[in-house]
Structures are given as C-alpha cells and as structure tokens.
Symmetry: C2
Subunit: 166 residues, 2 copies
Amino acid sequence: MSAYPLNPIEFCALRWSLGLDEALAAQLLKVSIETLKQWEDGSQPITELAQKQLLDIDDIIEMQVLNTCDGIEAMFKKEPKRRLAFVVYPSQAIYTQYNPEFLSSLPLTELYTTAAWRIKKECKLVLEVEIALVPLDVDSYKAFREQAGLGESRESRAKWAASQLS
Amino acid sequence: MSAYPLNPIEFCALRWSLGLDEALAAQLLKVSIETLKQWEDGSQPITELAQKQLLDIDDIIEMQVLNTCDGIEAMFKKEPKRRLAFVVYPSQAIYTQYNPEFLSSLPLTELYTTAAWRIKKECKLVLEVEIALVPLDVDSYKAFREQAGLGESRESRAKWAASQLS
C-alpha cells in the first residue's frame, strides 16, 4: 500500500459515509475547514494521520456492527423479538453526558449514529429484525426513570427506548 | 411495517450514508431545503415517497455492490490482479455526459461515487483487492483515446483509468 492509500475523492467518500460534514470532519481531525477543503480538492496532500483516523473509525464502526448483530442474534435464541429500540443521542452534549464510554473510539455523536444506522441496516438484512433508532429525550427519560424507580444506566436507557416503540 | 418506516434521525442517517448534503437531497427528492430541514427536525412528517426514494437508491447501490464484486471475483478466476481502477465522475455535467446509463437509477454523481466507495470497501474486505477510485479527467482521457485510437466507451474509460494507476 502506498504511503497515501486514499486519494482525495476516496477520502471525501469515506468522510461522507461516516456522516461527517466538512465542519465536523475538520473538528475531529483537528485541522481548519480550509485545510480539509484543500485535501479534498487535491491542492494539498492529505496527511497519513488524517487518513488513518477516518479509516480507523470506519473499522471501529464495522466491528461494532458485527459485535452488536452477533449479540442480538444470540439474545434472540433465548427471547425472540422482531422489533428493537436502539438509543442514539441528538446532540454532542447529551452524547457526552450519557454515553461517555464511546467518546474515545467514536468522539462525535454523528459517528455513533452512523454505527447505529449500519447496525439497523445489517440486522434487517441478516436477521430480519427491525431496529428503531430512538434519540434520547432527556425529559421523557428522566420522568420514565422516576416512575420506574430506576437509576441512570445503559439498561435504563434501553428500557426507556423500548417504551417509546409502542 | 408502519406507513412511515423511517423516523427523522433514521432518514437523516440514510441521507448521510448516501453522500447527500441537504441541498443535493432536496434536489433529488424535488422539495425545498426548508421542507427537508422540517422533515429532519421532526416538525413535518416525511412523505412516504421521499423515504421510498432514498431506501430504493440504497437498495440499488447494495445490489450494484454485490453484482460488481461478483463480477470482479469471476474475472479474477481468469486473470488474477490485486489492483483495479474504477472510474468516478467529478461533476454532474461529466457524469451526465459520459455515464448516462446510470442517470435513471442513480441520478446524481455523488450517488455513483457512494456506490463506488462501497464497492472499494467490499472488494478489499472480501476479495483482498485494492480498487482505486479515479475521477474522470476529460482532457487526459481524450488525449489517451487519441493516442490509442480508441472511441468513447465504458471500456475505453476503464483502460484510461487503469493507465492512471502506475
């Protein structure tokens, strides 16, 4: 593989496929939007670091898709369902507060949503399971927890999301 | 399935995964950017037609990925290679002029590039083949054809793209 595996159009296609506009990609890669534009129009070579960062994130997402679909398949052996809810986060602030364990691998909420979308697609195709992506509504979630006497946890969020399906 | 299978965040994630910004998606779906924003912020229900259009395009792309990877695998049985070039189109005008057979199924050059990107990813993963996406450079392509005495055809474009690899 060459030092620069991705040419500008491939880099741009990868960025899109991750759900990142120019501003978000520039923020993620810690460069100016101007630099990102120059990379994508071919007037500046794209740094290896930037390519590696986006390719690594794509790999992390693909791994998450595989693991989650495997997990759902295993779960279904015990308790078959054909409809599931998957919590996503409508803003960076809510993502940072409620789902911090993903911040190091998928720093932006848009990346987490991209992973969730791919999981939804894969589960439908492979397992014939419908997954709804449910954006966390903090007020509704807090009211639900209070009523059910639940603490804040991934499991509580999943229960709240499931309650949103019907 | 409900009348509206995609909620706003899913619709938005699908749009992103196809490589469409708001302006391109609005153009494709023949609505205003304002309407698209209202769909995605949940203030207006997304029409079934719009959902179907994006989901159909995603299906078309997935089918193209499968067929192309199958074709490449079959080709490799006769003539093994580990590096291939795949022509993409840097503007809508060039796409419309040189690749009109895809205009009805993938009307925008960005959609064709999305398909090409997914083909690149899949071929690398499944076949261990490196595909380079080569944007058609009309001047270089014309000079190449003149020198080689070739007419305009998909095959000529593929030959030109291959000549750009080394």
